[in-house]
């Protein structure tokens, strides 16, 4: 236990030293808003579960609710490609720390991938304990369910991270991931009817072998012993699976898995042509800067993952909304499917294209200050590179929509592209400022971000309303005037305003970088503590 204590102590000291220098107020405000919302949800749950009159509703909704929590814990981090804090095994493996202790810490760290669900489960537990009509075993039920989720999260994360680190099978794994993401869509309700498969998963009389059904039964006080046995069996199974995966991760050599054979490293002519494209179109040094960005980003596992996710996960995730055309929401998704998927792609690519433009290729930052190139040109080069990849991403999304025979027309495509363009301008404006003010080293070799999914969502929660406000105004104009022309007129005004904001933010970012270059380089040179966050 001394070693576990030492690791947490070192991490605490790391956070203590790091955060005061990195804008603690911003993190605190964003965290308070995000987790405050979830605390509110927990209080609502507490009130619902403590009310005896709600027991019939709880019986119907709880298994599905617990399944949703499982998905939030296990799947949402994958969808956002950000799987929570994790031990930096690269550094810790050198020391005499038993694997069992490392595993225990890793299990505890999985809380960071689902703090929101822990809050909601606490609300449910307290509510159920206060409700005389519910079983007194809710504490045991939720504790066991949380344990199961924490343990299985380690195995799933380790397995995926390892598979995605393998050069030759990464793309195959990703294909299966997309198929897995499509599975819920196949099970999804169609025209308000619950499919038999979905019924088996979440209905009140669903198969009792599911962990969420067993946990639900325990909270409701139904068939206690068999339900406890089922949940324990799932937990034990997940423990075996996760220990196996964790030991494989400990023995995993990412360098060896990523090494190319000399045969494979002979690049095809077209990839080289693609890399050279910016230099053919633009004069140096801008051409050289963008060519370097192309080479770097394309070779980065993190970038490739989010780029692939943008036009695969994005399409698959929002597809069910199109198949539920009744009601205003369904109609909205049918009308704006391409726009929604484009915006999702922008959000997904934000951390490799906007927010931390220097952290991704941190070793180059020092060079930019040394080279006889203006910093404005460097930032412009990064923005142009981001813009190019976003255009490719949106073009691929459009192509896939066409292949899927989605209802597209010139108007919808124009609208989607205009909306994406306006958002992109504002994203670049905000991103340029954040990139120099909050530069932070990121490991581009990690497919998944180590930051917590909740924290990322909280950041988006705080920034995106501002970035999306101009586009929302455009949609309001369309709603108020009842014409598409109003939308495009406001979008055009937004674009002009956006260009001015972009210009101002670029000037400000350049000045800030010049003033704070020492701090920026120091921040980009620094590594994490024992827990990568």
């Amino acid at each position: 236990m001394t070693q576990i204590g030492a690791i947490f102590w070192a991490q605490w000291r790391t956070l203590y030293h790091f955060y005061p220098r990195r804008g603690v107020a911003w993190s605190a405000i964003v965290g308070l808003i995000w987790y405050g919302v979830w605390a509110g949800v927990a209080i609502v749950m507490l009130r619902v579960f403590s009310n005896p009159a709600q027991v019939p509703t709880i019986r119907i909704a709880l298994p599905g609710g617990l399944l949703l929590m499982f998905l939030y814990w296990q799947v949402v981090p994958l969808i956002l490609a950000t799987t929570g804090s994790s031990l930096d095994l690269r550094k810790l493996r050198a020391y005499p720390i038993p694997d069992s202790q490392l595993f225990s810490i890793e299990v505890l760290l999985r809380i960071t991938a689902g703090i929101e669900m822990v809050l909601v489960l606490i609300g449910i537990t307290i509510g159920a304990l206060l409700n005389p009509a519910l079983g007194k075993w809710s504490l045991l039920a939720t504790a066991a369910y949380v344990t199961f989720n924490l343990i299985i999260a380690v195995g799933l994360r380790d397995m995926l991270a390892r598979l995605l680190a393998r050069k030759r099978i990464r793309e195959l794994v990703f294909f299966f991931l997309v198929l897995a993401a499509a599975l819920p869509q196949l099970l999804m309700t169609r025209r308000g009817m619950m499919s038999p498969q979905l019924h088996l998963l979440i209905a009140r009389d669903a198969w009792e072998g599911w962990p969420w059904t067993a946990a639900s039964n325990m909270v409701l006080g139904i068939r206690m012993l068999p339900s406890f046995a089922v949940l324990s069996a799932w937990t034990l199974g997940s423990l075996l699976f996760s220990r196996w995966q964790f030991s494989r991760t400990l023995a995993f050599d990412a360098d060896a898995a990523n090494a190319s054979s000399s045969e494979a490293s002979r690049r095809s002519w077209w990839i080289e042509w693609f890399y050279r494209l910016p230099s053919m179109l633009l004069k140096d040094p801008l051409g050289a800067l963008i060519e370097k960005e192309f080479r770097f980003l394309v070779r980065s596992p993190r970038f490739r993952l989010v780029f692939l996710m943008g036009f695969t996960f994005g399409l698959v995730l929002w597809l069910p909304m199109v198949f539920v055309p009744r009601g205003p929401l369904g109609e909205f998704f049918v009308q704006n499917y391409l726009t929604v998927v484009c915006v999702y792609s922008l959000m997904l690519m934000s951390d490799v294209c906007f927010w931390n433009a220097f952290g991704f290729d941190r070793s180059a930052a020092q060079f930019y200050f040394l080279a006889p190139v203006s910093f404005r040109r460097v930032m412009s080069g990064k923005n142009l590179t981001g813009l190019f990849f976003l255009l490719v991403e949106i073009a691929v999304v459009t192509g896939v929509c066409v292949m899927l025979r989605m209802p597209l027309g010139v108007r919808r495509v124009t609208e989607a592209y205009s909306v994406a363009a306006v958002i992109t301008i504002f994203l670049f404006s905000a991103g340029n400022l954040l990139s120099v003010r909050h530069a932070r080293a990121v490991n581009p070799a990690n497919s998944f971000r180590t930051g917590a999914a909740g924290r990322l969502q909280a950041t988006l929660f705080a920034i995106y309303p501002v970035v999306f406000a101009p586009v929302l105004l455009a949609y309001l104009a369309r709603y108020a005037f009842g014409t598409q022309t109003a939308l495009f007129v406001v979008l055009a005004i937004d674009a002009i305003a956006g260009m001015i904001v972009y210009r101002v933010s670029l000037d400000s970012a350049v000045q800030t970088a010049d003033r704070t270059r020492e701090t920026m380089i120091a921040a980009l040179s620094a590594g994490d503590g024992p827990i990568a966050d």
Partner: protein
């Protein structure tokens, strides 16, 4: 462990990346109490070898025994007895030097008060104690090496594995580090280090091994290695067959 058990025994060690062998059939024995210098040009396989010895990279094939114990089967017991000066990316940048040394001490099983007391003493010994609040991220390259070496000493290991310990260290610091290491060897410790600073290796090491393209091309006592050459550098360049490598480019 018997009196004659070598500190390091490597047999036919291979590490392959893709279809390239970074370490190719390395066989090497380092006796206990020896100051061993492991030399080679850039990309020769030195760091890969030391990573395998530290348990940071699994070998593709071959066996490693440290202090008579097989790696990785007894890795916990082995790691408990070795002191590491890894490459500087292995440090925790947002800790102060003292905190890092204390952390390492506690990881090696020292209680907190002992670890803290030794950390303070080591900081003073390595002349880092005058800036206790400075983060490792703010250290110079030489200071990072000093703090890494200080941390390696905290649990009084029997075997030191050091990757470029003198890189970036100033003359005074290097002298102090050399004295500390020689003192450790006098007390029976074994030191295995890689270095590009051949003068330092020549002055400190009893035995030297030279690795080139993953293969051990020469190994033996310093006097034998030097042979008829004036310095170790001459012998090193000759062993690599690079005497005429200094031809310049036309445009340069």
């Amino acid at each position: 462990m018997g009196e004659q058990t070598p500190a390091i025994e490597i047999r036919d060690l291979r590490k392959v990346y893709g279809d390239k062998a970074a370490v190719d059939g390395l066989t090497l024995t380092v006796p206990q109490g020896c100051f061993f210098g492991f030399l080679g040009p850039n990309g020769a396989g030195k760091t890969t070898t030391i990573k395998m010895l530290m348990g940071l990279a699994p070998p593709t094939s071959g066996t490693i025994e440290l202090l008579g114990l097989p790696m990785p089967e007894r890795s916990l017991d082995i790691k408990q007895q070795i002191g590491l000066v890894p490459d500087e990316s292995m440090l925790f940048d947002h800790l102060t030097g003292g905190e890092f040394i204390e952390f390492v001490g506690r990881i090696y099983g020292l209680d907190r008060s002992t670890a803290r007391a030794r950390a303070d003493e080591l900081l003073d010994l390595f002349e880092l104690g005058y800036m206790p609040k400075k983060l490792i991220a703010e250290y110079s390259k030489g200071m990072r090496k000093r703090v890494a070496m200080a941390a390696a000493l905290i649990h009084r290991p029997k075997l030191f594995l050091m990757d470029e310990p003198f890189e970036g260290v100033d003359a005074v610091g290097a002298r102090m580090m050399k004295d500390i290491l020689l003192d450790q060897v006098r007390h029976g410790a074994t030191i295995f280090l890689t270095s590009h600073v051949l003068e330092v290796v020549e002055r400190l090491c009893e035995r030297v091994g030279i690795i080139h393209e993953g293969k051990l091309i020469a190994e033996g006592p310093m006097s034998e290695m030097r042979g008829t050459a004036e310095t170790l550098e001459d012998a090193f360049v000759r062993a690599l067959g690079m005497e005429h490598a200094a031809e310049t480019l036309d445009w340069l």
